[in-house]
Amino acid sequence: MSSQSLGDKLQSLPKPILYGILFVAATIPLFLKISVPNVPLDASIDYYATLMQLPEGSKVLIGSDWTNSTRGESKGQMISTLRILMRKKIKFAVYSTGDGQSPQVARDTIALVSREEGNGTPLYKPYEDYVVLGFYPNSEGTTLQINNNVLGAFAGRKDVSATGPRDVLQSPVFEGVKSLADFKVLILFTASSTNTITLERIKKTPLMFAVTGVMIPENSLYYQSGQLEGFLGGVKGVYDLETLMEKGVNGGGADEVKSPKYGAIPGFPGMKNLGMGTAYYPTLHVCLALLILAVLIGNVGMFMSRRGK
């Protein structure tokens, strides 16, 4: 028979029960439509505004250094960004220096958004509207070469996603590109240290990062000191971007997203804007509430058992 006091019991709840409760807390809100009020961060507004101010038909370079291990955050960030790029008819080239699996993950995500935006038929054609340049080892050296000689960095690569191996530099995406400055912005989706490597080496075009939650404090520094045009951090960044795509900036109305830095920037009302951010953010709140409750129960248990002794 157990001689544990209530305080001791509260401090030693069985792990499988705690995990079970956590799994339930991370599941049930996914089936419910819970609306969490949101005030987008300045960094997210700047990210959105920069994308929306890109001229139609311009070109963007994308660094994709995430894999399925951070799908919960990075995929939502990439999906929302690609939706904006495709709606503005912006061509893009995607390279990876962080992980060998990243190019395939990027290909799958682009194909998914392309089908969605084209109502089942791919809106963006590989090689014509976008080109996946593949993986490059030695992130430091490759990134420096991208800054100094973007054509030299990607020379010799073949695109195999379309009709057969074709030189990536012959793609319409690279038409008229002579320097990195011909890409209006470099957007890096990363879950690793390639953010710092890129920040240290890319000077010829503005930078924007989409990073995981762990990396928010570090990248806030870069943003505050003006090294980034904008950035998305974790699932909050995804939710911010989805909110901005739905409402725009300074659009008027009671629930407008205000920003003194910009004039009115329209959203995309009536289109598919909401996705992983809107689904995950309320669930995250439930999980965090559970965590706070667990900390409180543990402390109450400790207090009770100390008083008992």
């Binding site: 080892p137 010799g156 009709t163 030189d167 404090p217 520094l221 974790g234």
Partner: protein
């Protein structure tokens, strides 16, 4: 069962297998762990050739001919063959007599990396240092906080932006105090008798702890998101959309 549903189902079984270790160590978990390691190793071998060695080294060494798909002929650079002996030098680390040879490729890598670091350091830190020089004295007391400029005319916005309002000055003061106290914590880590420096260092340590707490909070948030994503995969992508077609 169509292919996409089969793929999702295998994914769900793999997730359950890997999460089963949370209950206890078991053979089901071990099986999926080995499947994962095998897949990762196999994929690595393939991509090291296709994405690294072939495109970065072999194709550049042998060059290519023009083809019907639009690729132009490129000249080969036979000197790329030197990468092989330079790379092999690294293996001399296992030989006691000639292990000095292994230092040659390491030296080349270190030299290249060190050269880049001068520029990299400047690019990374100089904007942050200049960004730290913030004004701390308000230039106007018209209002305590900066007025909302959202729907104002451009000249009014410019006039407001040119001023430093008391609330902004307080924010900047907090920033500067944090910067100075954290710096003093690291600079004066030896035994210091001066009371002002001691107190400033202690404040720096406290502020660092608050910063670490915020970093830990964002880490916890990320870990939860990864779990939520797996639950989304199982319950929404596989169960709701894949099985129930809703």
């Amino acid at each position: 069962m169509d292919y996409s549903l089969l793929k999702l189902t295998v994914g769900v079984i793999a997730i359950l297998g890997l999460y089963s270790v949370l209950y206890r160590e078991n053979k089901f978990y071990r099986f999926w762990e080995h499947v994962f390691l095998g897949l990762a190793a196999g994929y690595s071998i393939l991509f090291i050739w296709s994405e690294v060695l072939k495109s970065q080294w072999w194709d550049k060494m042998v060059g290519s001919t023009a083809d019907a798909a639009g690729s132009t002929a490129t000249m080969g650079y036979p000197l790329y063959i030197l990468m092989i002996p330079i790379g092999l030098m690294g293996y001399f680390v296992f030989n006691k007599k000639y292990n000095w040879i292994s230092k040659v490729p390491i030296g080349i890598i270190l030299g290249l990396y060190s050269g880049q670091q001068f520029q990299a350091w400047g690019n990374r830190y100089i904007p942050q240092i200049s960004g730290s020089m913030k004004p701390i004295f308000p230039t106007t007391f018209e209002t305590f906080t900066k007025p909302d400029t959202t729907h104002l005319a451009k000249d009014a916005v410019a006039r407001i932006n040119a001023e430093l309002y008391p609330s902004q000055a307080i924010t900047n003061i907090i920033f500067v105090i944090t910067l100075v106290s954290v710096l003093s914590y690291f600079l004066f880590s030896f035994d210091v008798k001066n009371m002002v420096i001691q107190r400033t260092s202690t404040l720096g340590r406290w502020l660092l702890m608050i910063g670490f707490g915020a970093i830990f909070g964002s880490t916890v948030m990320m870990r939860f998101t990864l779990l939520i994503d797996r639950m989304y995969f199982i319950w929404i992508e596989w169960f709701k959309i894949g099985l129930l077609h809703k």
